[in-house]
Amino acid sequence: MANKAFQRIYTQLEGITKATVSLKAAGVSNDELAVVNGRLAQVVKTKGDLVTLQIFSGTEGIPTDAEVTFLGAPPTLKVSEELAGRFFNAYGEPIDGGPAIDGEERQIGGPSVNPYKRKQPSELIPTGIAGIDLNNTLVSGQKIPFFADADQPYNNVMAQVALRADVDKIILGGMGLSNDDYLYFKHEFESAGALEKIISFVNTTEQPPVERLLIPDMALTAAEYFAVDKNEKVLVLLTDMTLYADALSIVSNRMDQIPSKDSMPGSLYSDLAKIYEKAVQLPDGGSITIIAVTTLNDGDITHAIPDNTGYITEGQLFLRSDPDSGKVIIDPFRSLSRLKQLVQGKKTRDDHSQVMNASVRLYSDAQNAKTKLENGFDLSDYDLRCLDYAKAYATRLLAIDVNLNTDEMLDTAWGLFGEFFTKAETGIKQVFIDKYWPDQK
């Protein structure tokens, strides 16, 4: 190799946009990193000897005679056990004041797992939240987002889920986190005494948006290290994927690409799939489970971001504030875990799916009763009982502050059935009624 790319320094830019610069350079490889006046950048396009670089932290103040050095390699992360308990920025540099990580350097955004080598997910991930465990059970190797409006406490729920989940490592990928939320996560992890199993990659709102594009790949490279090399169960939290997609659209816009629906790039589906499909159950026992947050505009799920996400992920969880109980609940109607049947009744008690269906059906009867009430019709005795049940169900099971194990959830549900309904009204199979119906007081 006569001229190693990273030895060359260029000082003449040909063009500058808000997110990219272009210059004439030779021997540059696709995806490789460069430093432009001290700012990290990545090669996104070459045309003849004209190279376009995407500057992660933006181009404000970059002069045409900026010093450009090519580093000869795409973005990497050093991986080792030392990652555990640490906080990093989007480039994988420590931001907690600790020492740099010593370890094997790996390229981020690596290849996908051969689908033939995957295993079918079959391990339950308990969270203690009945709206999840009872109605929308999570399975290791699953990928599922919270669909939530901006005013809902999705980050709190996610932190709770993470701390209760029985996993070996938790990796937080924070994109566009407000500084308050970042400190909240940090505080929650510290006070739970769980820091040693948590790794965080954080880009806050104070930092440039394009940097966010590195966060999921950084988090998932760390996740693959623990899941593949160490056979560990890893839970990856990504918040907020809407802000990630927004950053994608900024870059594609600057590169003059033609936008498709909702001004998102035409490759949005593939871009999101590349991240979510890293969720995997590996043959040797390790797994990567992804729980993400996709914030919605006023509950609109037809927008390109939630819509594409819905086609990629294995279900979605909706948060809703419930006026009857005054609590935030996991909406039992619109939420769905596509993999729940792989564990319900197999890894949990045999009555699980029947109890789940009956409790949701009765809750939907309560919604009908409510509509009747609003329209000024008379309510029957059954309607009134449904309404009372709905309130109790929302408070004791659906609310996100519930913390029970699955058996306790099922027992609570049976308790509610006994309190408000006759055996026939639940429509549950006779064998389960005989076994679990609560004794009359």
Binding site: P74, R118, Q120, I258, K261, G266, S270, E277, D307
Partner: protein
């Protein structure tokens, strides 16, 4: 001499190459990326500069990297051993790859070259043959896999010699043919074919004249798909597209099934890998996997290979059709394929059409659907490729380019409805909006009255009418209230609910209900229609509702029981009692 070239530009997986010789559109080339050969396809040529789409990640590629052109298009290998294989979109065998991760530039052979096959000759020395004529056959599982004169052979050949019955591997020259000029050519059991070109080699392509049973009532009874027909299933996420497609794959009356998982979730493919080897084909009693080929290019695999995957799948189907087999191709989802086209068109900076899709999307889709169909082979036998694709419309809105273009190309339309899915009325196929154009074909109508029962199509139309009337009645009830409409409205509504619960809804996870053979479908439809013909005199709508709920419950129990079995007959008696009391 093969042309070579040098990389001059890179945007994601679109690479421009300066060439030193002739290249052709869709020609395959390999780009040398520090020792790793990356496969790519020419998609545009401008002077000496060729734009190629790379089937792999282009990370680390540099301007100046060398490119070798292959002087051929993207091809697949066709021969014994395709069935029960799992390939990626470029026909690399996924099962023989090393390592948990897909390695860039790792290309594996789709066929096993060591395995010996029991060959029996069909042609004799002296026979005159043309492309696609059968020379011999091997047993692939239980299917007679024909060894044919390669499709690329032009003109007439004379069989000079053919090996006697015995065991050979696929590379053995099983026959020697002599062309018109007297040149001898060897024919092995394996041949290559470019995926983007339709395999001809048949005498004619008549209109479909038989239906293909799927065991799914809402398809077979209401909107049947023809053998050699085309259909598509659009629906928002969470409506049961994949469950419905898997049901068709498990039960479809076809000899060979090719499933193309195109840009979908990897865990869904894992489900096929895990379940299919366990499942038994209801038609032959053999393992499902034995008649199935899986082409798997999940959403995180390279986009360009996703585009190729549907063509790879279709070519394999056409190959088996040329053996006189009934082949079913299921592609999930064609929207992902269209999105792959969009990504490339975008990078090439072509002027976009609607929603930034390429302007020729519609013609690309219809020429793909046109490759399906029934054919009469050179020897007079028939073979067919039936194609059902799913479409994932953005935001669940059917007024988008992929759905609209597909609607022009496919003859059957199975619209999945969010509303039905929310009510857990599965399969969530909307009975009114969906259609099968085949029901208008005189050949198919004749076939149905012969095969099922005379007047069957009239019965089906009557059923649809009951559903339509029920819908209207329901709207009136919703507006005017239960007491505000005459009793007949309630009766109409509940008759349509009866059809809905007993005929339309079907439990895909129940061993008996999931597969309903045609004779059973006819029996149940007749039963339901007879009830719908009856006149009832209910005193109030509560009585009407309770009566029909009871009817529905009994008929649903019948659906769950073995046809004409003990418990089926018991419920039938209950039904008769209820009906004679109800009058």
């Amino acid at each position: 001499m093969k042309s070579t070239g040098k990389v001059t530009g890179i945007v994601s997986n679109l690479v421009t190459v300066l060439t030193d010789g002739p290249v052709s559109q869709n020609e395959i080339c390999y780009i040398d990326c520090e020792g790793t050969k990356l496969m790519a396809e020419v998609i545009k040529v401008n002077g000496k500069s060729a734009a190629v789409q790379v089937f792999e990640s282009t990370r680390g590629l540099k301007n100046g990297n060398t490119v070798e052109f292959e002087d051929r298009m993207l091809e697949v290998s066709l021969g014994p051993g395709l069935l029960s294989s799992s390939y990626d979109g470029l026909q690399n065998d996924l099962t023989t790859m090393t390592g948990v991760f897909l390695k860039r530039g790792e290309y594996t052979d789709p066929l096993n070259h060591e395995k010996l096959w029991d060959f029996t000759p069909i042609a004799k020395p002296g026979d005159k043959v043309i492309a696609a004529d059968w020379l011999g056959e091997v047993k692939e599982g239980w299917l007679p896999h024909k060894i044919m004169v390669p499709f690329s052979f032009k003109g007439e050949f004379t069989v000079k010699s053919i090996v006697p019955a015995g065991q050979y591997n696929i590379d053995t020259a099983v026959a020697v043919l002599t062309d018109a000029e007297g040149e001898d050519v060897n024919v092995t059991m394996v041949q290559k074919w470019p995926v983007k070109v339709a395999i001809k080699g048949y005498r004619e392509k008549p209109r479909p004249s038989r239906i293909m049973e799927t065991g799914v009532r809402v398809i077979d009874t209401l909107n049947p798909i023809a053998e050699g027909g085309t259909g598509f299933i659009p629906g928002p996420f969470g409506c049961g597209k994949t469950v419905l497609q898997h049901a068709i794959a498990k039960q479809g009356d076809a000899e060979v099934i090719v499933m193309a998982a195109c840009g979908e979730r990897a865990n869904e493919v894992v489900e096929i890998f895990t379940e299919f080897p366990e499942l038994i084909d209801p038609h032959t009693g053999r393992h499902l996997m034995e008649r199935t080929t899986i082409i798997c290019n999940t959403s995180n695999m390279p986009v360009a290979a996703r585009e190729a995957s549907v063509y790879t799948a279709m070519t394999i189907c056409e190959y088996y059709r040329a053996m006189g087999m009934k082949v079913l191709l299921l592609a999930d989802s064609t929207s992902r394929w269209a999105q792959a086209l969009r990504e490339m068109s975008n990078r090439m900076e072509e002027l976009p059409g609607a929603d930034a899709f390429p302007v020729d999307l519609s013609s690309i889709i219809s020429s793909f659907y046109a490759r399906a169909g029934m054919v009469v082979l050179n020897n007079g036998q028939t073979g067919s490729v039936t194609f059902i694709g799913t479409v994932s419309p953005a935001g669940g809105n059917l007024k988008e380019p992929v759905t609209e273009s597909t609607k022009k190309a496919a003859r059957c339309f199975y619209a999945l409805e969010q509303n039905r899915a929310d009510k857990k009325r599965y399969p969530a196929v909307n009975p009114i909006d969906s259609y099968s154009k085949y029901l208008e074909y005189p050949e198919i109508r004749e076939y149905l009255s012969e095969k099922v029962t005379p007047g069957w199509v009239e019965m089906v139309e009557k059923t649809k009418n009951i559903i339509r009337k029920g819908r209207d009645a329901q709207e009136q009830i919703n507006i005017l209230g239960d007491d505000g409409v005459p009793m007949t409205y309630h009766e109409l509504f509940w008759k349509s609910e009866l059809v809905d619960f007993v005929i339309l809804q079907q439990d895909a996870f129940d061993a008996i209900d999931s597969v309903t053979p045609m004779d059973r479908q006819e029996y149940m439809l007749r039963l339901v229609l007879d009830i719908c013909d009856m006149e009832f005199n209910f005193e109030d709508f509560e009585q009407c509702r309770n009566y029909f709920k009871e009817l529905i419950n009994i008929l649903k129990q019948m659906n769950y029981s073995e046809f004409h079995g003990e418990s089926f007959n018991k419920f039938q008696d209950q039904l008769n009692n209820l009906l004679s009391n109800g009058k």
